[in-house]
């Protein structure tokens, strides 16, 4: 089928099979391999991207369902060389080790912060309930989300 979607700000027309998953379109056809596949039951969250502004699991979305939509992947989060505060905070707080879950974790975290700019521990736990990490033990990930929240609130108040 023919699709048109906007990926990281760039609108493109593509062709794919009806059964092509969004994650496979992103990885194989567009070459954005930052989004990862980690399971086959839609539970690990490694494939999380933003679809029309919301975090979704791209392994459980058909590319066809995303026709006409706007998608942001991990590659589209930074502005040129300027990293997103969530990306910075994950590094600063050592919230990543092997990095495989990290793109999905970052995309889920940015969505969580959009909904809860000053999240409680409980809101962070619920916000990341769809993402697995085997390396970090999560404590530093939670710290990273809180630091990112601070950075974003400070930046928000600076520009206000």
């Amino acid at each position: 089928m023919n699709l048109e979607l906007t990926v990281n700000g760039k609108t493109q027309s593509m062709q794919c099979e009806d059964r092509t998953l969004l994650v496979d379109l992103l990885r194989e056809q567009i070459g954005l391999t930052g989004t990862h596949v980690g399971c086959d039951t839609s539970q690990c969250g490694c494939c999380t991207v933003h679809l029309d502004g919301q975090a979704v699991k791209s392994c459980t979305v058909l590319a066809a369902q995303a026709d006409g939509s706007s998608i942001t992947t991990i590659e589209g989060l930074a502005h040129g060389d300027a990293l997103h505060p969530v990306q910075q905070a994950f590094s600063a707080c050592h919230g990543l080790q092997c990095g495989y879950c990290t793109p999905g974790m970052i995309m889920a975290s940015t969505d969580l912060l959009r909904r809860h700019p000053d999240p409680t521990d409980e809101q962070i736990r619920e916000g990341l309930a769809g993402n697995l990490c085997r390396c970090t033990g999560y404590v530093n990930i939670v710290a990273a989300v809180k630091q990112a929240a601070s950075l974003m609130r400070a930046a928000g108040s600076q520009s206000a």
Partner: protein, 773 residues
């Protein structure tokens, strides 16, 4: 949002947080074909025939490999690991797993065939058309079932499904100790079978260059040499013809040291078909077919005298090998369970009898700690049980029996030499940190809310890896861009080697870490050294890095002397440069190291005069610590909340505090996973795997252990140049006993007898309700 001043914590971070990591599945080569595996759906069956005719005719299919192809290519079996010596002096019965099943399958998920096609989908479609003619046999999926008289035997050569009975220690001394003991305690503990479950799914892409007779193998590893060695062993292709590439690896935890069937088959296929071939696993295949972890039973008997001195511990261990001997479970079930079987205690007599048993399950190999967290767990649990049974305070029982600080180096009753430690100091520090003394009040407050609290701790000690290679060597090559490339064998799967090793070299040279690039397993460099494993990379390769820095300075001194027209011995090395003056404020004549390097002329082949190697021989070290966990159980639902987790570790000299803390955190959560939910379960009747996905296998998530406080009681080791002890497996070694002792204390207070892990809500509730009557 000003990010101009952002400096990443680790060198690796920038590419990983922006999605520019390169994991195996991210690689593609022009013209590549795709493979899909056909796996057994029976636990135990004869294979009468495999009908590939429909599959061969399926659209897009290029080839189908079966055991006949493996044999024709001269490939051998999956490596079995070094054989274990048995109690009567003979060698273990080894039953190697064939790359593809021949006349029999012995576990659900065992590889039977590989289909190669133009697309992954076409390969999968074709694979579904392969008809295997099975003749079902009775299966045994537990060690108990496998050892019952009359049980079906998996391998004719292993009578009663026993691969080996090994012993360690002194049986007679232990028997004598038990004969004069005032009190004894016995406890049987299972360390249940687990899935390793790194987040990156296994994948492999192989390209064969016929003109150079060279294979390029992209696959996740723990260091190139181990993977290459196993591929060489299976395929018969010499190592110089195999190049292994693993730029980024999404976790490993012991799983990825060597090749399984798929990587070897792709070598065969790429050569035969003249095109690159790619295979990516699914998560369900990870559950059925990749090596599982742990699967041990540890039965401990402890003997005490009237003053509560430990006279002896006698162990009976059973290790489930799975259906075949693959890689490490034999070593785990014998050496790794005995090397530290006395833990941190001064025990005059130790003995272990160890059985290695075949079952119709996936083969078992190394998973984070590979037996050492398991024995640490068993010792600490046994001690707590003895304390409870005989009315002894668990802190006092330990304190009385710790190896004292003035006893080092200490040789254990079974010959292990511990170099250093401050066990009492570590425990005391941890108990204060956890406010152990104040627990009773917290327990009572919780009780008023209807909740059941428990506190428990584990004084663990583990032997980090001695390593198989004779030494670790790292090589420096001064690059044209003014930076120094440091090549080593050990490969990161999240540990941050690029950062740590760069830091060690930079510290030794007094330059910025940004000037150093660590490159693991670079195909252009032949090196001796160990891969990642047994928590030894930091002190092993790291010590070599320290030696490397010293060697560079040795070579540079002569060149600096010529550049400054001074005597070499008169120069001082200050702030990353050679100078005639003695202080920063009064340098005299000075040349920076990197500046000097830039001025030196290269030889005709491009080698730089300062290019050199550093090496170190670093044996096992003994990381240890005391972790304290406080839990709160809701008796109505059986749910446990981890209220507090405090960890005090002796990791010797800590080079990268943030990375070390991260390793402990990760290990603690993996331990928590095992304690509270993870378990691979097979159906006893059908042999089918019941926990085949994340729907049924509960992985730890955010909030399982909400807070972990870390502190250290470092006693530097003299066993390597850095004074560092390994940390990779400490988190598991501390968390298993701490969490289980806490759960056991809470449940014991309600009359619940000792329970095995996992302490799922359902099991905890059932145990409590049984007691409540």
């Amino acid at each position: 949002m000003n990010t101009a001043t952002f400096t990443p914590s680790r060198v690796e971070d920038l590419r990983l947080v922006t999605g520019r990591g390169r994991y195996t599945a991210d690689w593609n080569l022009p013209g590549q074909l795709h493979a899909h595996m056909v796996r057994s759906d029976r636990a135990h069956a004869l294979v009468r025939g495999i009908d590939t005719s429909a599959a061969k005719a399926s659209p897009g299919v290029v080839a189908i490999l079966t055991a006949d192809d493996v044999k024709a290519a001269g490939y051998t079996d999956i490596p079995t690991g070094a054989p274990v010596k048995t109690a009567d002096g003979s060698m273990q019965v080894k039953c190697a797993m064939p790359v593809l099943a021949t006349d029999r399958v012995r576990f659900v998920g065992q590889p039977i065939a590989m289909v190669i096609a133009e697309s992954a989908r076409a390969a999968q479609d074709a694979a579904e058309q392969i008809m295997v003619d099975y003749e079902d046999l009775v299966s045994v999926t537990s060690m108990d079932a496998a050892r019952r008289p009359g049980a079906p035997e998996l391998h004719g050569v292993a009578a009663g499904n026993l691969s080996a009975v090994a012993i360690a220690g002194d049986e007679a001394a232990v028997a004598a100790a038990f004969a004069r003991a005032t009190m004894t305690t016995t406890l049987s503990m299972d360390s249940q079978r687990l899935a390793v479950a790194p987040m990156e799914l296994r994948a492999c892409l192989v390209d064969y260059d016929a003109s150079a007779d060279r294979y390029t193998v992209y696959t996740p590893t723990q260091g190139m040499l181990g993977m290459r060695g196993s591929l060489s062993q299976i395929s018969g292709v010499t190592g110089d013809k195999i190049q292994v590439i693993a730029e980024d690896v999404g976790g490993s935890f012991g799983l990825r040291g060597g090749s399984a069937s798929e990587q070897a088959l792709l070598m065969l296929a790429a050569r035969r078909l003249g095109k690159p071939v790619k295979w990516v696993s699914s998560r369900s295949e990870h559950f059925t077919s990749e090596w599982h972890g742990r699967a041990l039973r540890l039965i401990g008997h402890i003997a005490l005298d009237a003053q509560h001195n430990i006279l002896a511990i006698r162990w009976e261990h059973q290790a489930d090998l799975g259906a075949y001997t693959c890689y490490f479970q034999a070593f785990i079930g014998t050496r790794n369970l005995s090397v530290t079987m006395g833990g941190v205690y001064r025990i005059p007599a130790l003995f272990a009898r160890q059985e290695l048993i075949f079952t119709n399950t996936a083969p078992v190999s190394a998973y984070r700690g590979a037996g050492r967290p398991d024995i640490a767990y068993a010792i600490e649990r046994l001690i707590d049980q003895a304390a409870a049974e005989h009315g002894i305070d668990p802190v006092e029982l330990r304190r009385r029996n710790f190896i004292p600080n003035d006893a080092f180096p200490y040789t254990t009753a079974n010959g292990t030499v511990y170099d250093s430690g401050d066990f009492d100091g570590t425990m005391s520090k941890a108990l204060v940190m956890a406010d152990y003394a104040g627990f009773a009040a917290r327990r009572d407050e919780a009780a008023r809310r209807g909740k059941l609290r428990g506190i428990g701790f584990g004084c663990y000690l583990e032997a980090s890896g001695a390593g198989g290679a004779p030494k670790d060597v790292v090589r420096a090559k001064f690059a044209a861009d003014g930076r120094i490339d440091v090549f080593g064998v050990t490969g990161s799967s999240g540990q941050g080697h690029e950062t740590s090793f760069a830091q060690i070299v930079a510290d030794g040279l007094g330059v910025s870490p940004a000037a150093i690039r660590y490159r693991a397993s670079d195909p252009s460099q032949e090196l001796v050294g160990n891969g990642t494993g047994g928590s030894r990379s930091l002190y092993g390769a790291g010590s070599a890095c320290k030696m490397l820095a010293a060697r560079i300075l040795e070579l540079a001194r002569a060149a600096a002397a010529r550049a400054l027209d001074a005597a070499p011995e008169s120069l001082q090395y200050v702030d990353g440069g050679f100078q005639t003056g003695s202080a920063t404020s009064d340098p005299g004549k000075r040349i920076g190291l990197l500046e000097l390097a830039g001025k030196l002329a290269r030889s005709a082949d491009g080698a730089h005069p300062l290019d050199c190697e550093g090496e170190a021989v670093s044996g096992a070290t003994f990381p240890n610590g005391c972790h304290v966990a406080e839990v709160e159980i809701d008796p109505q639902t059986g749910v446990t909340e981890v209220i507090a987790y405090n960890a005090v570790d002796d990791l010797g000299t800590v080079i990268s505090p943030q990375l070390v803390q991260g390793q402990v955190h990760g290990g603690v959560l993996q331990g928590a996973g095992q304690v509270f939910g993870e378990q691979i379960i097979y159906d006893d009747d059908t042999g089918q795997l019941l926990t085949g996905s994340f729907m049924d296998y509960p992985m730890p998530r955010v909030g399982w252990v909400p807070n972990i406080r870390n502190d250290y009681n470092p006693v530097p080791t003299t066993l390597n140049a850095l004074g560092a002890k390994g940390v990779g497996e400490s988190g598991c070694s501390g968390s298993l006993p701490a969490l289980v002792n806490a759960m056991s204390a809470a449940l014991r207070s309600r009359g619940v007898p000792p329970m095995n892990m996992p302490f799922t809500p359902a099991r905890v509730w059932e145990a409590l309700s049984e007691r409540a009557g």
